[in-house]
């Protein structure tokens, strides 16, 4: 995605698709062969997903005037492998009766959340900003005129740059910096800001018991129950708006 506008999404504006990223048709077919019990446990043979993106390229309500909640995070927040009505962001915004402005992006870290947040908070002035902070081994950088995503697996093994994604101190400082910058931006406009961490993986983060079969269609992300748990926690954090 081009660096010309800091609020740019990975995805094309006004697009619709049935599959996205890791939640691909190929992955689904493969899982039907080797993980059919998990797919059936979540009724995925009966369900379908529509990934619909607004004109700015976000899986979100349109960015209009009015009361809205702004959500930041990775694929869990975007709702990879999940129908929109079950995504935790949708449940939270429905609970409070406000528009859902979901800036979640698949595969990104706190850098991207912060870049998008700093761009859109000022413009949308949401009632609340909620961040499900992604795992720490992800780093976004601009190369020439493109924002590019790396993580500890994809950063070149022999490259000094990789140490920004692997060394705990670099990751920790980066995480803190991004969250404090967002918190400052929210405080400028008197907007409450809530953040929780996905430090290891989503199952640990939301205390899913071992053996739990709640899964998204790609079988890598939370299912209906997981999204409900995340939503419930944030609703409890927020209390009243």
């Amino acid at each position: 995605m081009k660096t010309g506008k800091r609020g740019t999404s990975i995805y094309a504006g006004n697009s619709i698709s049935s599959w996205l990223g890791i939640d691909s048709e190929e992955m689904y077919k493969r899982n039907r062969e080797i993980n059919s019990d998990l797919l059936e446990a979540n009724s995925w043979s009966l369900r379908s997903i529509e990934y619909k993106f607004n004109e700015e390229g976000f899986r979100s309500d349109v960015f209009s005037k009015g009361d809205g909640g702004l959500f930041l995070g990775c694929g869990v927040t975007l709702g990879i492998g999940m129908e929109r009505e079950y995504i935790w962001t949708k449940r939270v915004s429905d609970y409070f009766g406000i528009a859902e402005w979901n800036l979640g992006q698949h595969g990104v870290g706190a850098d991207t959340c912060c870049r998008l947040g700093l761009y859109w908070i000022r413009r949308l002035r949401p009632k609340v900003v909620v961040m499900l902070s992604p795992v720490w081994n992800r780093k976004e950088i601009a190369i020439k005129d493109q924002y590019t995503q790396y993580n500890s697996d994809t950063a070149p093994k022999t490259d000094t740059f990789r140490q920004l994604t692997t060394i705990r101190e670099n990751k920790e400082l980066n995480q803190i910096r991004n969250i404090l910058a967002l918190q400052h931006e929210c405080s400028r406009y008197n907007i409450p800001f809530y953040v929780r961490q996905l430090q290891s993986d989503w199952m640990t983060a939301i205390d899913m018991p071992v053996g739990n079969k709640d899964r998204s269609r790609d079988l890598e992300h939370p299912g209906v129950q997981g999204h409900l748990t995340i939503a419930t926690r944030f609703i409890r954090d927020i209390g009243r708006l």
Binding site: I141, D159, Q163, L173, R177, A181, E185, S187
Partner: protein, 243 residues
């Protein structure tokens, strides 16, 4: 995170005084006295002497006691490479306000370093004022625990950058430094607000006319950094900003 990442340029320098600190080293001085003698004499570097006093944490600063202090964040211009204590802009501002001088400036560093040090030291020292002269946006830092320096400052000028590496692209693309500076300043603003500390920030090229100090040939002892006139320009700009 280990406290060792919040010390100054090197623990090796801590609590020491010396006449030289890179890039203002004796070799450069001797070379300049030969090949740039006119400039050295014009700035009276044949007569002037510098002693760099570093505190127990490795900063060119008063000790970190719990007095009422003013904190400075920035690069070598803030550290005061090539200039005596009495002309250093940070020292003059601290004297002006009669506050303890807590100078956390680090040669070669960027806004990442200002954030790292401010994040650690502002809640501990609780200064009355934090003054940041934001370094240029082409500098980043990275912690590499197993290396001798532990914290590496990197920019396009860094000789070990390999053009085939992602790190080269990272350092060479201005958007990274610009966005990082924005985030670092916002994060520091929040930390100061949370600690009830006044925060004043200006970019280094907003407070110092760099072509002008070079044109005036007003230079520090290494002939790269600003001299007395340049430090006075920075001092005046920040006194006005602090009020």
């Amino acid at each position: 995170m280990s406290d060792s990442y919040y010390t100054g340029i090197s623990a090796l320098y801590a609590q020491k005084s010396g006449e030289w600190i890179l890039p203002d080293d004796e070799h450069t001085y001797n070379r300049n006295m030969k090949i740039n003698r006119d400039l050295m004499l014009k700035n009276e570097w044949d007569k002037r002497k510098i002693t760099y006093h570093l505190n127990s944490e490795g900063f060119r600063s008063d000790g970190f006691n719990l007095d009422s202090g003013i904190m400075f964040l920035g690069c070598s211009f803030t550290f005061g490479i090539g200039i005596e204590d009495e002309h250093l802009w940070t020292k003059r501002i601290a004297n002006h306000y009669q506050m303890t001088h807590w100078n956390l400036g680090q040669p070669g560093s960027g806004s990442d370093t200002c954030f790292r040090l401010g994040y650690h030291w502002i809640p501990i020292l609780k200064p009355q004022i934090v003054v940041m002269m934001a370094p240029s946006t082409d500098r980043m830092e990275m912690i590499i625990p197993e290396s001798s320096e532990r914290v590496h400052y990197v920019g396009p000028w860094f000789p070990e950058l390999n053009p085939r590496d992602t790190y080269y692209d990272y350092a060479m693309t201005q958007e990274n430094g610009k966005l990082a500076r924005t985030k670092n300043i916002k994060a520091l603003r929040l930390i100061c607000a949370q600690n009830n500390v006044k925060f004043v920030v200006k970019a280094f090229d907003d407070v110092l006319d760099i072509p002008e100090y070079r044109k005036r040939q007003d230079l520090g002892r290494d002939l790269e950094h600003p001299g007395i006139w340049g430090h006075d320009q920075i001092y005046q700009a920040f006194i006005k900003a602090i009020g």
